[in-house]
């Protein structure tokens, strides 16, 4: 469960480039809910996920995860509670390390790292079984460097890595945006499966309204640092992309916008 109370984030405070990126976000996300997040470029989606993960600290407001007040916690400290997959397939893993080394890193998330071997025999076997379940044939490439994998393979492994340490919250920031459509579909299906099997509380930022409505239980729209739309259940089931666009236009004061302007970024 995530509770966000009136958080504000300002970049470059006091400079000419000052940017009030989050302007009072209030939200409660119950355990196990799968939330999709949309919004135009610069709306504050990444900043919002970053503020949950600890990359940016809210200057005002409160964030609680599973009952713990994490408002002042930095990223490494929150990592035990929160797993992430980034947009850039290069960002979420270490290209120069092997697949199994990346998995070992993720498996120790939120734990104290000591002098025990990162890759003991038992653990290797566990990793092999887990990665075999992806159905990508990667179980025979555990010693390959991560950098040798394709973008889609890297995102798939990153998703798997997100489940290795048993954290219950998954943050996905346009994790399929850098992939070709077929690969993106594969990764999305994998996402759905992993979220369901591990009962993860998930926030998924996407640039596709279609995806936002097709996946998950609830959809948020961010605009200029605020949540301007929050739909779930029947209301959401009745929504279509044109409806969503119309709702969005209304929020902006009746200005007509095309799907594209929302898609960019």
């Amino acid at each position: 469960m995530i509770v966000v109370e009136d958080i504000h984030v300002t970049f470059g405070r006091g400079t000419p480039l000052e940017k009030h990126a989050l302007r009072g976000v209030d939200l409660t996300i119950p355990e196990g809910e799968f939330v999709t997040v949309i919004g135009s470029n610069g709306a504050g989606k990444s900043t919002f996920l970053g503020s949950l993960a600890g990359d940016v600290l809210a200057e005002q407001g409160r964030i609680a995860i599973d009952g713990a007040d994490v408002t002042r916690w930095d990223t490494p400290r929150r990592a035990g509670l929160v797993a992430r997959v980034f947009q850039d397939p290069m960002a979420g893993s270490c290209a120069a390390l092997t697949i199994e080394e990346n998995m070992a890193l993720a498996a120790a998330r939120g734990r104290r790292r000591g002098l025990a071997l990162a890759l003991g025999g038992e653990r290797r076997k566990g990793f092999r079984d887990r990665i075999a379940a992806l159905g990508l044939g990667l179980e025979n490439r555990l010693h390959d460097r991560m950098g040798l994998l394709s973008g889609g393979q890297r995102q798939a492994v990153s998703l798997l890595m997100a489940t290795l340490a048993g954290s219950k919250i998954l943050l996905l920031d346009e994790h399929t945006a850098a992939l070709d459509p077929a690969t993106a579909d594969f990764v999305l299906d994998l996402t759905r499966r992993i979220v369901r099997d591990n009962r993860l509380t998930t926030l998924m930022v996407t640039h596709s309204m279609r995806q936002a409505l097709d996946y998950g239980d609830r959809t948020l729209m961010l605009h200029e640092g605020r949540v301007v739309l929050d739909v779930a259940g029947d209301e959401r089931a009745g929504l279509d992309v044109p409806h969503l666009l119309a709702l969005f236009a209304k929020q902006r004061g009746g200005v007509e916008i095309s799907d594209d302007s929302l898609l960019i970024g």
Binding site: S93, E101, L105, R113, L117, A118, R145
Partner: protein, 297 residues
Amino acid sequence: MSEIALFGAIEIGLVYALVAIGVYLSFRILDFPDLTVDGSFPLGAAVCAVLLIAGVNPWLASLAAALAGAAAGLVTATLNVRFKILHLLASILTMIALFSVNLRVMGRPNVALLMQDTVLTPFYGLGVPDHIVRPLVVGAIVAVVVALLARFLGSEFGLAMRATGVNARMARAQGVDTDAHIYAGIALSNGLTGLAGALFAQTNGFADVTTGIGTIVVGLAAVIVGETVLPARALALALVGCVAGSILYRLAVQVALSADSIGLQASDLNLVTAVLVAVALILPRLKAKARSTRVAR
């Protein structure tokens, strides 16, 4: 090359192998260009020499030298991590400061070790000539360091340190306290360098504040030579490569200096080494450029 010169080159190569491993840790594993070694090497030599003269056990004196080097590394890491000073500049500041510190430690620019016991003393007079005993003992120490370090880098903590250097953002997202790993890695790097300084003092019989000049370049040269002759992906092999690179570098220097026809003097060493490292750094770029222009056509 005479037999004495050959073993001498191997011996000094083994001493500097510890520097090479330290440089590999900072430059390659942590991606932290650290020049502190120019100060931590003579610091290790100074601390060890002064303690030996005070009658301290040579192993304890060597350990103290390593700890002093590690402390110097911590200063550099603090300047960078805590106070956000660029890593190169942070390390130059520490290096310059250490020049004064080393003079203070020794009380004068150089200290001779004449009758003091060293870690080598127990092994002299066992029937093996002294000039072979020295590389054997230093080699054994280097072997132990390589084994321990390979094991350390394979641990969960060591893996997190490697991730810190490769992709700090990812490491943090995986719960790695990257700052702590930079502190630990730079301390370890300079600790090894301090130990190298201690061994230098004990094998050569003196400590001198000027011996530090160019340590970083020699260490880098050894790393680069090692990567060329042993282009290994496996970490343990890469460490062995540092050792091999350091020895090969010293042998090459010895050959160059002993070939009268080239006309090089010992004092030309820094110039030759700097040119070698520069060429080694430039070559990959030129190759890549040549490749891309070929593709462009």
